[in-house]
C-alpha cells in the first residue's frame, strides 16, 4: 500500500501535539530522523496500534515521548533488552528502537551485539551525533579521534567504533547509513529495514550543533549539513568494515548489508506454535 504524503498534517497525526514544543535545539537532526521514520511507517501502511517504540535515555530517546503509539522511555542503554521482552511477549507488535549512539553502543553495547547475534526481530534507528548530547556533549565511543568535547577538550585520543561494522560483525541482517541530508534515502532505508525479519539497523549521522558542533568548528546545524554535503558519498554494498568515520573525514553512506538468515522468532519456533 502506498500513501502519498502531501503535507505535514499526515505526520502530525502521529505526534502527540499536547507534548509540543519538544526539547530539541534548533539545528538538531533528531526531529529529521523521527520525521523520516514516521513517513516510513505511514507509507508502509502499518497499523499504528501494533507498532511500539522503545527508547533508552538521551536527547534522541526523548522521541518515544512524542510519538502517538505505545511507547517506552526506559533506562540508559537497556532499551534493547526491554524491547526484546516486549517483542517476545507479543510477536504481533512491530518493535522499533529509537536510540542515540551512546545509548546503543556505549552503555548498551553489550545488549547491541547480543540482539544482533540473536537476530532479534527489532528495527533499530540510531541517531549518531558523535557524542552524548543530553549530558552536555561528552566524548563517547563514536566520537572521532581528535574531536573536541567537554571531556576531551584537547582532542579525543581514543579510537572510535563504527556502528555499521559493529552491527554487521555481530550478525545484523540489514545495515544502512545515511546523514540527515539524505532524507529520501534515509526514509527508504527505514522502510526496507521495517520489512526485514530479524535485526535491522539504520544509522543516521545527525547534527548536534549545540554541544558537539560548537567545539568542532561547526557551530550551527547548517555547518554540519554542509560538512555532510561535501564529505559524504553513496556506496551501496560497501564493506561495513571499511566505513569508519574520521574527524571531518569521508562519510560513506548507503546500504551495506541486506542478507537473510533465520530470525530469533523463526529459530525459537514462534511461527510453528501459538504462544
Amino acid at each position: 500500500m502506498t500513501i502519498e504524503i502531501a503535507n505535514t498534517k499526515v505526520i502530525d497525526q502521529y505526534i502527540r501535539q499536547d507534548r509540543m514544543p519538544h526539547i530539541w535545539c534548533p539545528g538538531c537532526g533528531i526531529g529529521t530522523v523521527l520525521h523520516a521514520l514516521i513517513r516510513s511507517l505511514v507509507k508502509g501502511g502499518y497499523d499504528m496500534d501494533k507498532v511500539a517504540m522503545v527508547s533508552g535515555i538521551g536527547c534522541t530517546a526523548r522521541a518515544a515521548g512524542y510519538v502517538k503509539m505505545d511507547s517506552f522511555h526506559t533506562t540508559h542503554g537497556r532499551a534493547l533488552p526491554f524491547a526484546t521482552g516486549l517483542k517476545l511477549a507479543n510477536p504481533d507488535l512491530k518493535v522499533i528502537l529509537f536510540s542515540g549512539d551512546g545509548d546503543l553502543v556505549s552503555i548498551g553495547g553489550n545488549h547491541f551485539i547480543h540482539a544482533a547475534r540473536r537476530n532479534m526481530d527489532i528495527t533499530v534507528i540510531c541517531v549518531n551525533n558523535f557524542n552524548y548530547g543530553m549530558t552536555g556533549g561528552q566524548m563517547g565511543p563514536t566520537t572521532p579521534t581528535g574531536a573536541r568535547t567537554s571531556t576531551s577538550r584537547s582532542g579525543n585520543y581514543e579510537p572510535s567504533f563504527s556502528i555499521p561494522a559493529l552491527a554487521a560483525a555481530s550478525g545484523a541482517v540489514y545495515v544502512a547509513r545515511w546523514t540527515c541530508l539524505h532524507l529520501r534515502q534515509l526514509e527508504n532505508s527505514i522502510s526496507e529495514a521495517l520489512t526485514r525479519k530479524g535485526f535491522s539497523l539504520v544509522e543516521a549521522i545527525s547534527p548536534c550543533p549545540t554541544v558537539y558542533g560548537r567545539l568542532n568548528k561547526q557551530p550551527t546545524g547548517l555547518d554540519q549539513m554542509k560538512y555532510y554535503q561535501t564529505a559524504s558519498s553513496v556506496e551501496n554494498g560497501a564493506d561495513p568494515m571499511k566505513v569508519g568515520i574520521e574527524l571531518n573525514g569521508k562519510i560513506t553512506c548507503g546500504k551495506f548489508v541486506d542478507i537473510e538468515r533465520p530470525s530469533y522468532l523463526e529459530m525459537a519456533g514462534f511461527d510453528k506454535e501459538t504462544r
Partner: protein, 383 residues
C-alpha cells in the same frame, strides 16, 4: 501432566524447582535470566517447561538485560519473572527502579548467598534484605516475601505474582540458598483451587484512557502494548497521562502514591505466622530458612517451661509494624535471628520503640544458626 502444563499431585522438589513450578501455576509465561548459583535451577527448569506450555524462555546476556526484558514482557501482556542471586541482584537494581516507577508487574527471585561480592556462591545468607527494601535509588515501597521451605517456594511464588498483578509492582521473592537447594515434598495446587489475580484492565475507551490515573486503591488499571491505547511509559516523573512533568509537585503526587499504594494496603499485603505468642515473654523473630530452626529452638524452650514464642515474617517488606507494636509491651525481649550482621533487627527495634529489649543473633553467612545458640539466647532473655 495435564491442564495446560500444570502438574498435579505431590513431588520431591528442591526449592528452586518448586519456585519455577509456582511461577507456572501462577500463569507466568515469560522468563529471562542469567545463570548464577544458587538460583540456576530455576532458569533451567523454566527453559524446559515454558516452551512446552506456550511460554517464552530467553537467556539474556546479563542480569541488567534480564530485568529489562521482564519489564518489556510485562508490557507485552505476559506475567514475567527472573531469578538471580547477590551479584545479579545488584545488577538488576536500576531496572527494578524502572519497574517501581512505571508500575510494572513482575516477579524477581533472589536466592540469597553469602556476600559481599562473589562471597560464598554455594552457601546460605539472608544479607540482601535491606537491598530488597532500598536497593533501587529514590523513594518507593517494596514488597518482599521470604519462603522457608520448598512448599513455600511454590506457594509464595504464586502469592508474589498475585501481589505484583494486584498492586502493579515488582515483587521480590527473597529466598535463600538453603531453601533453594533443600528437597522436600511439594504439593501442587490443582488449577481449580488456585486463586490467581490478573492486572485490572482499563474500562474506558482509548481516547479517555489515562495510563496513570489510579482507582480508589491507588493502583491504575493497566493496558498492554498492542491493545490500541497508544500510551506512553517513562521512567521520568510523570502525570496521570504518563507524560513527563519536571516539578516537585508532580514528584510529590506520583511518588507519594507509589509509596502509599503499598503502605496503605499493608493489611492486605502482610502475612506473618505466630506460634505461642499469646502468653510469651520472649518472642523470636525470623524469616526464611532461619525461621525453621527458630521453630525447633522455641519448642525446646517450651519443653523447659520457658514462655517462648515465635514470629515468622512471610512478608518482610512491607514490615509487620503493627504485630511488633502489639507484642512489644508484654515481652521481656524480642530475639531476632537472621543470617546477616543485623538488618531486620533494625525494624524490630524501631517498632518496639523501647518498650522491650531487642537482641540480635547475627550470622555472617555460610551456615544457618545452631538451635542451641538460639535456645541459650531464649533462656537468657527469659531470666
Amino acid at each position: 501432566m495435564s491442564n495446560n502444563g500444570h502438574l498435579s499431585g505431590s513431588f520431591y522438589f528442591n526449592g528452586d524447582i518448586a519456585c519455577a513450578e509456582g511461577a507456572i501455576s501462577a500463569g507466568c509465561r515469560f522468563f529471562a535470566g542469567y545463570p548464577i548459583t544458587p538460583a540456576t535451577e530455576i532458569a533451567e527448569r523454566m527453559s524446559e517447561r515454558l516452551p512446552e506450555i506456550g511460554g517464552v524462555y530467553i537467556q539474556m546476556e546479563d542480569e541488567l538485560a534480564s530485568m529489562a526484558a521482564i519489564l518489556g514482557a510485562a508490557w507485552g501482556g505476559k506475567k514475567s519473572m527472573t531469578s538471580t542471586s547477590g551479584p545479579g541482584f545488584s545488577l538488576m537494581m536500576e531496572n527494578l527502579g524502572l519497574g517501581y516507577m512505571t508500575e510494572t508487574p513482575c516477579v524477581v527471585v533472589n536466592v540469597q548467598r553469602a556476600g559481599p561480592s562473589t562471597g560464598l556462591p554455594t552457601l546460605v545468607a539472608q544479607a540482601d534484605m535491606m537491598q530488597a527494601r532500598w536497593g533501587a535509588h529514590g523513594c518507593y515501597s517494596a514488597i518482599a516475601l521470604c519462603p522457608s521451605s520448598p512448599q513455600e517456594m511454590y506457594d509464595y511464588t504464586i502469592k508474589a505474582f498475585n501481589l505484583s498483578e494486584k498492586y502493579r509492582v515488582p515483587v521480590l521473592l527473597m529466598a535463600d540458598e538453603a531453601v533453594g537447594h533443600m528437597s522436600e515434598k511439594v504439593t501442587i495446587t490443582p488449577p481449580e483451587k488456585l486463586k490467581l489475580v490478573t492486572r485490572r484492565k482499563p474500562t474506558v475507551s482509548p481516547d479517555k484512557f489515562n495510563p496513570y490515573q489510579p482507582d480508589a486503591d491507588l493502583v491504575p488499571p493497566m493496558a498492554n502494548a498492542g491493545e490500541g491505547y497508544g500510551f506512553h511509559v517513562t521512567g521520568l516523573t510523570h502525570d496521570e497521562r504518563g507524560y513527563p512533568v519536571m516539578t516537585p509537585q508532580a514528584q510529590e503526587k506520583l511518588v507519594r502514591r507509589l509509596v502509599d499504594k503499598i503502605d496503605k494496603n499493608r493489611d492486605d499485603i502482610i502475612e506473618v505466622e505466630e506460634w505461642d505468642t499469646d502468653d510469651a515473654e520472649v518472642v523470636v523473630v525470623s524469616y526464611g530458612i532461619s525461621a525453621r530452626i527458630v521453630r525447633y529452638a522455641v519448642e525446646l524452650a517450651r519443653k523447659e517451661g520457658i514462655k517462648a514464642g515465635m514470629l515468622k515474617l512471610i512478608t518482610v517488606w512491607p514490615f509487620a509494624e503493627s504485630t511488633i507494636k502489639r507484642l512489644a509491651p508484654r515481652l521481656k525481649s524480642f530475639i531476632v535471628v537472621e543470617i546477616n550482621a543485623g538488618q531486620i533487627v533494625l525494624e524490630v527495634e524501631r517498632c518496639a520503640a523501647g518498650q522491650t529489649k531487642t537482641v540480635l543473633l547475627p550470622g555472617m553467612g555460610g551456615a544457618v544458626h545452631h538451635p542451641d545458640v538460639i535456645l541459650e539466647a531464649i533462656r537468657k532473655a527469659a531470666k
